[in-house]
Symmetry: C2
Subunit: 143 residues, 2 copies
């Protein structure tokens, strides 16, 4: 009933069990074009699994993030948003309605060796975020 592939999260998993909740949450997340909050995932998954709990949604989303199967985005609404697309892309946030869209971008792979050399820090990921007004929000400024 539950496709095994959905939880083929690398072979190094030890003791990770395949549950209906995990399968449906990941399936739901991957089907979204927007980037839902935990609450929104909860509501969406409830349609197929009415008894699911909010705790499980939070726990599972955190687990997917730790497994590298989902991105956790820090929205300007102060909430965590989740993105099931882990390919390299950027995000656009509308500062008015606060929705988040994907942005295909050709961000040049910046050379961080200079920064790393000066600081001793190690850069592992880079994210580009755009902010502005979306189509529906009428390109109005709020200043």
């Amino acid at each position: 009933m539950i496709p095994n592939k959905l939880l083929a999260l690398g072979g190094e998993e030890i003791g990770a069990r395949q549950t209906t909740q995990r399968s449906l949450i990941l399936e739901y997340l991957r089907a979204q074009k927007t980037h839902p909050t935990a609450k929104q995932v909860y509501v969406g998954v409830q349609e197929r699994l009415p008894g699911v709990s909010l705790s499980t949604v939070y726990r599972t989303l955190g687990w997917l993030r730790d497994e590298g199967e989902a991105l956790e985005l820090n929205g300007i609404d102060g909430l965590a948003h989740y993105d099931g697309d882990i390919s390299d892309h950027g995000h656009f946030t509308c500062v008015r309605c606060q929705k988040i869209w994907d942005v295909e971008l050709d961000l040049p792979q910046l050379d961080h060796r200079d920064f790393e050399g000066k600081t001793g820090f190690k850069v592992r990921e880079q994210r580009l975020d755009l902010y502005g007004n979306c189509d529906s929000c009428g390109n109005k400024e709020d200043e």
Copy 2:
């Protein structure tokens, strides 16, 4: 006692009053190299103004953000961090200790006209964020 310049926030202010709290909060924020949370600003300002309230700190930081005098960063700790440096720069977040540093970078001014044309969105700001491990956190992975 309180330098006027600190609150010279553009001439278009109407009815904005210069208070000890506002002056000290902005002064404190600008003196920080790290990017403190509201609570940290509260603690820092308390040293000079013991009676200041947390409400006022939150209210004032939001006001500075709205006035364009401070940046509000969405930390991976889920908390809002504030940056009194409004010049164009990026940020590096250590995924282990969660501190945030400034990064001087020459992010090319990307051409968003293609994205804007396709979507009808209007890009007003772009931010580049780097994530990794800082010097003190020993360049260890946590996987």
